[in-house]
């Protein structure tokens, strides 16, 4: 494992902590009715976002999933604007048009979370190809879950990326479940085996440890920037909370209790927190707390969009179709 400076360790911890607290507060806002439609919290899985994004340049690109807040925050999005987006406000990253599953910030290379499992993979490949042609050394990361490795479009994308040696990182967050379906019941063979079948260097890492993830990501990013093509990293992790917040109301049981206890026993927050001095850790915690407080205050005080503007941005060219009521 790479030797990191204290500052680097603190940065990783800060990211993990930020995501954790952001998600916890977001869940509260869901319960309070301030976030409509619910969210897919990523608590427990923060190390993946933190570790991968720590290996990236500011101009590198990512795409993400329904469980995407962590990725977006780790890539540098302003927590205020992410939370405002979740609350459907005009100050949100997407002006309230995208919500939890579509957070994007193109100035930061965040090309969008995606609500269709696997659909972001080819989009990432295309962006990476454009970067390769431009010769600007940028890489693109596709985050996805274990459920996505059964999607044809993702497998097709592995082939394209390998064939054309695209600077892509395929980062699989294997949290053991696609909603209620276990990996064992869904994935014949292994996840890394799928990457390898296309000739893509593929490794499995401890997805609870941001440093382990960072290490693997760095190797992959270096290879991609050097023209060595794509890599796949399987990060073994565990989702601490529900698949989606509707489960908070309608408890469905599919994870054994002892598995949950075991899964939660390795906490990225603790793993990375233990690498900081107590003072440093408390300092970061306090910083994060105020960031998140600010985000909540900002989100809840921001204006709601005007229904008259519902179809703004429907077409990039400004085309306006006919309204639904025939006016």
């Amino acid at each position: 494992m790479a030797l990191l400076s204290a500052a680097a360790h603190a940065d990783l911890y800060r990211t993990v902590r930020l995501i954790r607290r952001f998600e916890e507060r977001a869940v509260e806002l869901v319960r309070a009715g301030d976030i409509v439609g619910g969210i897919h919290p990523c608590t427990g899985q923060e190390a993946v976002a933190a570790g991968v994004c720590a290996a990236l340049r500011a101009d590198d690109m990512i795409t993400s999933t329904h469980r995407g807040h962590g990725h977006v925050l780790a890539k540098g999005a302003d927590p205020k604007r992410v939370l405002a987006e979740l609350a459907g406000r005009t100050t949100g990253l997407n002006r309230g048009r995208g919500g939890s599953m579509h957070a994007a910030d193109f100035r930061l290379g965040i090309l969008g979370a995606n609500a269709i499992v696997g659909a972001n993979a080819p989009i990432t490949a295309g962006a990476a190809w454009a970067a390769k042609r431009a010769g600007d050394g940028r890489v693109a990361v596709s985050f996805f879950g274990d459920g996505a490795v059964n999607q044809g479009v993702l497998l097709e994308s592995l082939n394209l990326a390998a064939l054309w040696r695209l600077p892509v990182l395929f980062v699989c967050e294997n949290n053991g479940y696609a909603t209620t379906l276990t990996v064992a019941d869904a994935v014949a063979g292994t996840i890394t085996g799928r990457g390898e079948a296309f000739g893509i260097p593929s490794t499995t890492v401890d997805g609870m440890d941001p440093v382990a993830v960072l290490d693997a990501a760095r190797t992959a990013v270096d290879r991609a920037r050097a023209g060595g093509g794509p890599s796949l990293i399987e990060c073994v992790t565990y989702r601490f909370d529900v698949h989606h917040t509707w489960e908070h109301r309608a408890r469905v049981r599919y994870r054994p209790d002892d598995e949950i206890v075991k899964g939660r026993s390795r906490d990225p927050l603790e793993i990375q927190g233990s690498r900081l001095s107590d003072v440093d850790r408390e300092r970061v915690d306090a910083e994060v707390e105020s960031l998140v407080d600010d985000a909540v205050a900002f989100a809840l005080s921001s204006p709601h969009p005007d229904p008259e503007d519902a179809l703004d941005h429907l077409y990039a060219t400004g085309l306006r179709g006919r309204p639904g009521d025939g006016r």
Binding site: G37, G152, T180, D185, R253, L311, G321, G324
Partner: protein, 322 residues
Amino acid sequence: MPWLSYRKALNRALGDELARDPAVFVLGEDVRVAVSNVTAGLLGRFGPERVLDTPLSEQAFTGFATGAALAGMRPVIEFQIPALLFLAFEQIVNQAHKFSLMTGGQTAVPVTYLVPGSGSRAGWAGQHSDHPYALFAHAGVKTVVPATPEDAYGLVVSAIRDDDPVVVFAPAGALDVRVDVDFATLAPVPLGVGRVHREGSDVTVVAIGHLVHDALAVADELAGEASVEVFDPRTVYPFDWDGLAGSVRRTGRLVVVDDANRTCGIAAEVLATAAERFDLSAPPARVTRPDGAVVPFAPALDRAVQPDRDQLATAIRKVLKD
């Protein structure tokens, strides 16, 4: 009499058909745990061979259902999101739909595609809120959008028993509708036969899916001004043209309310057919989503792209004035 919810009606239809016909089986994502509730209890009653949890492979499991059907089974697929039909679009409209004609009638593909929670589910944003039934109607796949629990039951039963592929959209806006009903009266509802929910003499409102309930509410509201007939086609393809013709003969006026994009939607088809075949005493109107709508996330914007009661009332008044 006991209460039957729409969701429970779907569940009951599946259970009854699984019990009746060993060729029936259910597959889809999280159907064993029954995340959507629609498959609740089925695993326990019928076992894992007849209630299959699939990996997230919509194209393959849709084609899989076609293959099973070709070999004599009657699969029912639950799709968690309307947009997942787009992933399986080729397998439905270009494979399942075409097998009968292309093989010269050698085979049938009795697959039911069930989408519980179509349309907007408040806060699920652009990729989870479509109501794309017109796409299947255009392709010619039988397409059903039940409005009430008893029709949900009866149409799903008929869909499963039908020898052709049938897509069933269960609108999110109808899932919580409940009726007080004698379960013994639940029965198959034939595909392609509409239902007059309320008789009237001034104007026929064709309402699709959950909007039937809105149309009934608006008809109540306008009771002092106008006598509104509410016609629910129940099946959007094949459409009950004769039923509608009968209604329009009585009223002479027509409004369609349809929670789907305007251009080339079901509402367009109803107006087009009316223009060709019916004698209207005033131009018809439709209330729909806007052209090419993408449902924005923020709740007020989400609602703004769906047809609402005010729009419908305005359209009715306008048609009556003309």
